[in-house]
Amino acid sequence: MISILGRGAVLLALAACSVGTVTGAIAAMRGSDKALRITRTAGWVFGLALVGATLLMEYALLTHDFSVSYVAEVGSRSTPVWVTIVSLWSSLNGSILLWGFVLGLAVIGLVETTRDRYPYQTPWALSVAMGVGVFFTFLIAGVANPFEAVSPVPADGPGANPLLQNHILMVVHPPMLYLGYVGMTVPFAMGAAALLAGRLDAAWTRLIRRWMLIPWGFLTVGVILGGWWSYEVLGWGGWWAWDPVENASFLPWLTATAFLHSAMVMERKDQLKGWTLSLVLATFLLTLLGTFMTRSGVFNSVHSFTQSPIGPVFLGFLAVATAFSVLLLAFRLDSLGGGSRPLAAGVSRDTAFLANNLLFSAFTFMVLLGTVYPLLNEAVTETQISVGQPYFDRMGAPLGVAILFLMGVGPALPWGTGSLGSAARSLAVPGAFGMLVVIGSVLGGIHAPWALATFGFGAFALGTTIREVFAPALARSKALGETLGRSMVTVMSRSRRRYGGYIVHVGVISIAVAHAAAIAYQVKEPVTFVKDTPREVLGYEVTYLGAEWEDQPHRKSHKAKLRVLEDGRELGVFEPRLNYYKKMGTPIGTPVVRSGLTEDLYFSLINIDEGAGTASLDVMLHPLVWWLWFGGALMMGGTLVAGWPSRKKSPATKPATASAAK
């Protein structure tokens, strides 16, 4: 029954977005209001049908309806309810359905934010977005159909991938990434619409920027949560391995970040239109590439599902979308016209933004090259290789430090013409702060060059950011005699976009510093403990008290109990474990992490030999890891500050009321 309903909903969505793609184009070319109305309705039908199909699948999962093929594939009566819910994205066909769900919501959002506005671009944007929808619903209806009817109906299923069941973070990490990936469809459609309509005004630019900021925020959170999950679950003590699939999520993040900066130039100076739109289009294409790499099984990775027929289809769509983007840029860019306000050279914010874009492009190129190189190599020589982590670390470190440097310089420079002298004056204090931090670090025994560079330039960037945040409020409170706090609130609420950006910057600094410190100074000691024999490990006294089994419906856990003392004071009994899942021959570990502001103590269980009374563990110390997650939270908070919708709908009235208040 659910198979039929679900399939019906998917086919309805396919019909709706096919109609919408065509009527949207007609509305754009003929200026027909009727066609536009039909397109909007089609958008709603498309979105609601896919939301409905996803809810039906969740219902089938929760009621253990094994007559539905996807439920038979990943469902199980013995898993906890939360695992059953998240099973939706535990395998290929379900995750494509989730993709459709998010795309449905995005199209509805696009329909509503453009209703009765932007008459030139809106029909094209709807048409392109639903064109992308045609491809995805085609997948859900065809090769990746999760609603096939299974007969005879099995009594129970195997359950979801154990790695997903192993940690609660799996509830949020994949949907966040999907919201980020799929959300990029909207700015893509908007960018393509600007080119198709031959119009890119300030209002449309702001709209693209806002719709880029939302998926960018989700992507940021998704990537950081993925790192956190890796750290908490996989037991190797790291959060980023430059795994091809991790890179696949990082690439669109890089180009989207470049866009968020160059869009400011476009909005203010009416320049860099072609470049900025290229970044929008490239971001979407990179999300497609990322999905292809994740879902086609071309890589061995934590993330790859089994070999799947979806790969070639995806590659085909990627080729079509790339050709569409390149042709659009080649033939329609001139229609947008050149900017009237030239960029300033020399010591100006304009230059800083240009340099920012160059660095982010270089970063993208570097990661992309390292990621696809093994594929190209394999195609040519048929030998299997991968590009090792040292390549990415060595290439990424100088680029990352240069980006930190720019982050410290850019915000302090004026738009237009600035002078070297005034720049030096505003950068003197942050520069001195950076120097002090470097000197202090050296005296404190830190000698790793990239760690020192990151600390120094990080402190420099932090200094500039703090100055830019507080200086205007200080000036205002002095001039008006207000309290500083009140001035802060007023100043920040007037340009939330800028201050949100600064908060994000502080988050990035926090992550960069933590990452550099952890790379340079993490230590790992493999130890085999003998029962009841205390051992000194990395400055802690650790005693293995014995092993214990714990039974849960969906798994059995073998725990090693460790008493840990620091300077004779007991920190507690830690229980890293190995989890055994049904139908899975090998156990999956759950490490124990004792997190602190300066360092994490990390126990990863390797094996337990109850006969010999021993347990082998990797004991690790990771400095500053807490600051990675803290930086991620700051980035999320900053994005919310910058992107939260204003209460007043019409932006045109805002400056007027603001100046009236003065």
Binding site: Y373, P390, P526, L617
Partner: protein
């Protein structure tokens, strides 16, 4: 560059644009050169025992993911100093492996493993990373095996 506005006109602007394009091209090719060089130095090779033998001296110092089976009766595990030695075989040729760190729970003789490390000039493979494969059935790589099958040989538990 000093703080001259870019609003310059005529041939000056044109010359400037050419200069910018050339500068960008130089920077891009420099980056490409450095990146390719760096990739070349940091490749990880996925080899089986036969390929490792065939590589000869090329294997010394290179980062290698070696796939094979743990030979029966070859495991020597010293818990006190966390030292593990065993032989990886493809049923025909063999490589002695030394690992620092404990063997994973499922590690045993006859199981398929992937070890990441490098060859020493003494002919011993040293590794700090040992992964056990999904199943105990290990098929030795054969001539004419498809790339996908070969890839499957290196799919480990951690890769899932």
């Amino acid at each position: 560059m000093t703080s001259t506005p870019a609003a310059a006109t005529g041939s000056n602007a044109g010359g400037r644009r050419v200069f910018l394009v050339v500068a960008l091209l130089v920077a891009a090719s420099a980056l490409g050169f450095v990146a390719f060089g760096n990739i070349g130095e940091n490749l990880v090779y996925y080899w089986d025992v036969g390929q490792l033998h065939d590589a000869g001296d090329k294997a010394v110092g290179a980062t290698i993911r070696l796939g094979g089976v743990v030979k029966e009766g070859s495991v020597d595990w010293q818990p006190d100093d966390n030292h593990l030695e065993f032989i990886v075989t493809d049923g025909d040729r063999e490589v002695p492996v030394e690992c620092s760190g404990a063997p994973p729970q499922m590690f045993r003789e006859g199981i398929g493993v992937v070890v990441e490390g490098t060859m020493t000039s003494g002919g011993v493979f040293t590794s700090e990373r040992l992964m056990v494969k999904h199943s105990n059935e290990y098929k030795a790589p054969e001539e004419g095996m498809s790339a996908d099958d070969r890839k499957e040989l290196y799919r480990t538990v951690e890769d899932l």
